[in-house]
Symmetry: C2
């Protein structure tokens, strides 16, 4: 965390323990740094697991490992390595993941497939197996750590630790959800990697946990972008220890399932927004809401086209109500759009309506809105009922400095 | 042209006259500037025309006008306005284009549909009809201008005038091709607009000219990107006056058609590369070649994914051989790719082969290559015969300064 703390940083919240999950951290020494870089979560027998991973066609061996283990639906441990993503390392990278899982399984007496592994950091350098194994031996002897310790340990060039928590009432019992996440922020040649880990004491059957996590993901992690670049290692895992003692949730017909889904989506949204708030060089948090599209998927693609447009992002950095660039980004999305039906607002002020600049709109509240840290852009396509909301940050000199000025 | 001249600028070439085409420029005063901003090309009767326009779903009324007139295949005049793109201006924008075409048609005695119109500059402000009409009256009295005058007059925030020329032998006659183009470079709230105009004295039937221009476009203008943002106004028009006296080309079975296609593609490639060389903030010209893809279209999408990646572009700006970011951009393209078959080179030096870093590759020539202005990235997917080459520039502080620091 050598960069200055993001101006959009949020304080780390008080986060309760989750029965059935215990944390520890240690220094494996993946890089020449003094900080802890190996996070371990012990999970009681009976813990179910779900996960979503990067869409990259060139994923890390950790991602491949998790994809293979997830259908089995059970977890006993999580290992997160920081400082080396182990991506693009061929057979040696795969061997490192297998060695980690085998080492943990040998210690605690479980199947290797019960051990989930994620890594983040430099690409193209195989994770050193000796350091990983020694780290695991050490972390299993380490004192219990807190959520903040873990959130700091999974980070790489993140400028602040990121966590969120919420609760839901399921089957008459209050269940706890907590999550930690690391986001984008890199020093060359590291690659932006989003790793998120969610823990709950609710009892949830694995296939249903998977369905709920995928539903939450569609509205949260899939709706953020910093620079449109997709990591080879992105992974979000959710672990349900079952210690709350509720009747295990198996479908939306079960009492409390809707409440849990709402809580899970809320938690994921908090975590996703924290990643944007630590976007490289970010000085503004931007919410982009699109409505009136021909469908929700179309609205999402248009919103992401706006969110990924360097011209829109630099305009916001310059506090410039440049709605022409928003029109451009709508037009290039390749989705149905009708110039003469399009309306655009900044904050609550309409600046273009039905394909024309609003004559004499009050510029003062627009300028005041753009001077703030939380920016809203609204687009109404006027075509249908499709809607989507996504979040991004502005594009500033800080992004260039972080990614170009520092050499690998 | 208030920005410093691009370090990648090329000198304006000597360009020959094209029989049947005469140029003039004047100051319509679309902006409060002293320079000329209205370009006029008179085209002799019998001139055929072809064009390609932006894929934007929110195009300017000029683009709509050209799309409607192009199927008729004949042209007598071209009017290019600089300083106001007339985009997103509703009925009033359409009325301005119609007024321009009618004014020219009345003066020279042709159909309004024989008059092609393109505009570039600020968005959302209807082009003032009185200034346009007065400008046309003046330009028709103006002395003949040269290609450089026209190339300067169609520019907005371009930092240097851009033109190219070539020749081909068709049907025993040497025909001339010249082109001028304006590219990306903007001061908020102007929008990057690429307008290109090609003139030849060859005789070519309009449908075949259209086919050849589309073929050239696929390999040239469609293969460049500065920031991935697509203008509402992009237009390339090709005019063939027929004054060379060759038997009109109607298909690739005609003698010289292949030679003309090669010359046209070469001309378009020169013009396209000049636009990249004036990319906002550019300090490096980057050629990205992808081979071994499952098909050419797949190779093109992967190459554009690399060319549009902010992380790749900032790495090149930082002269950093960060091949991990190239892997990332391949992986996010959504096209078939196999991590363990992927090879990457910078210049002529392989840095990754078959999914692994090349151990002990010679870093000195890579570092020397990256310090230069012309950078080559090669990717071999190892899957098939598909290949594509695209061109882009790096992403620097200059881009942020141009687009964020200056306010509209």
């Amino acid at each position: 965390m050598s960069e200055p703390i993001s101006p959009l940083a949020s304080p780390f919240p008080d986060m309760p323990a989750v029965a059935g999950a215990r944390l520890a951290v240690t220094r494996a020494g993946y890089k020449a740094w003094e900080r802890t870089d190996l996070t371990y979560a012990a999970l009681d027998a009976g813990t179910t697991v779900a996960g979503v991973t990067t869409q990259s066609k060139c994923p890390s061996p950790e991602v491949e490992w998790c994809r293979k283990a997830l259908p089995l639906g059970q977890a006993r441990a999580l290992v997160v390595n920081a400082g080396n993503s182990n991506a693009f390392t061929g057979n040696r990278g795969r061997a490192a993941v297998e060695a980690i899982a085998a080492r943990v399984a040998g210690h605690i007496g479980c199947e290797p497939s019960d051990v989930f592994v994620a890594s983040t950091g430099v690409i193209g350098v195989p994770l050193p197996i000796d350091k990983a194994e020694a780290g695991i031996d050490a972390v299993l002897q380490a004192p219990q750590a807190g959520w903040r310790d873990a959130a700091e340990t999974i980070g790489t060039t993140d400028t602040f630790p990121k966590g969120a928590t919420t609760r839901a009432v399921v089957d008459g019992r209050t269940v706890t959800l907590v999550g930690i996440i690391k986001g984008s922020g890199m020093i060359a040649p590291d690659m932006a990697t989003m790793l998120g880990f969610i823990f709950t004491d609710a009892a949830i059957e694995a296939p249903f946990l998977q369905a709920m996590l995928e539903a939450a993901n569609r509205e949260t992690f899939s709706c953020i972008t910093v620079d449109g670049d997709t990591s080879t290692s992105d992974t979000v895992l959710a672990f349900a220890t079952g210690k709350a003692g509720n009747n295990p949730l198996a479908s939306f017909d079960d009492a409390g399932a809707d409440a849990f889904q709402a809580a899970l989506t809320d938690l994921c949204r908090q975590l996703a927004q924290l990643v944007v708030r630590d976007g490289e060089g970010a000085s503004k948090f931007i919410q982009i809401s699109v409505e009136g599209a021909t469908g929700d998927a179309s609205a999402h693609r248009i919103a992401m086209s706006i969110a990924n447009s360097p011209l829109v992002k630099t305009a916001i950095a310059g506090e410039d109500a440049n709605w022409g660039r928003v029109v451009m980004a709508v037009g290039k999305a390749g989705e149905p759009a009708e110039r003469d039906l399009l309306s655009i607002r900044f904050g609550n002020v309409q600046v273009a309506r039905h394909g024309l600049a609003v004559e004499g709109f009050d510029e003062a509240p627009v300028a005041a809105h753009l001077k703030g840290q939380d920016i809203e852009i609204g687009v109404d396509l006027g075509l249908g009922e499709g809607r989507a909301t996504v979040w991004t940050c502005d594009l500033t000199h800080g992004y260039i400095s972080i990614n170009a000025d520092y050499r690998s």
